[in-house]
Amino acid sequence: MTITALFFASYADVFGRGRMEMEVPNGSTVGELLRHLHSLDPERRLPPAPLVAVNERYARPDQVLRHGDEVAVIPPVAGG
């Protein structure tokens, strides 16, 4: 299945882009997607357990992804 990964702020610098369409196995979890992203980041600039939002809501690592989900990897927020 396909999901869309979004990267913001310093994490967009890590991956050199803000958006990535990705093929992942059916039934993948947020945690499994993060492990895949870590494998694309050999310099370990992404922290071990970044915040993740699925379809604009914060998600836990065990949340199961579905085809078409928008998965945002969220750096420490600094609004205000």
């Binding site: 702020a9 310093s10 809501r57 945002a72 969220i74 927020v77 600094a78 205000g80």
Partner: protein
């Protein structure tokens, strides 16, 4: 109640007027502005970016929680995105309530929750020409000039 993420300059006076009502005895406006110094470094400006759809959703969720928790629907928050110079306002929170204690508490609640969970980021620009993403949870990572 209202929450918005906007690209344009903020107007604290307009937000104060928006929450005003003869039912309220206390109005509080919080304005967050760009400081010339942060952690000892001379700042020339800040660029705010966001996961815009989610930021708007989270801001609205925070205001909805504040309305229910503090018992007033007169709460408005606007966060600006884009580049801001020194002294410019990045966020304005206006709250009005019959009583002052709840007005202060609601205002404080909104800014603290905003800083905790709304997906907005800022990149500070320094007078020495460098810039860096601000990470409130750690030391900063430097990004080139």
């Amino acid at each position: 109640m209202r929450a918005a993420v906007v690209p344009t300059p903020l107007d604290a006076t307009a937000l104060l007027a928006e929450v005003a009502s003869v039912a309220n005895g206390a109005s509080i406006v919080f304005v967050g502005t760009v400081r010339e110094v942060n952690e000892g470094r001379a700042v020339s400006g800040i660029e705010y970016t966001a996961y815009e759809a989610m930021a708007a959703r989270e801001l609205e969720a925070i205001v909805t929680e504040a309305v229910s928790r503090f018992g007033t629907s007169d709460i408005v928050v606007e966060h600006r995105l884009g580049r801001m110079g020194l002294g410019e306002a990045s966020v304005v929170i206006a709250v009005a309530h019959p009583h002052r204690a709840e007005a202060y508490d609601a205002s404080r609640f909104v800014i603290e929750e905003l800083k905790r969970r709304v997906p907005i980021w800022k990149r500070e620009e320094y007078v020495d020409g460098t810039r860096a993403w601000v990470d409130p949870t750690a030391a900063r990572a430097e990004v080139g000039p």
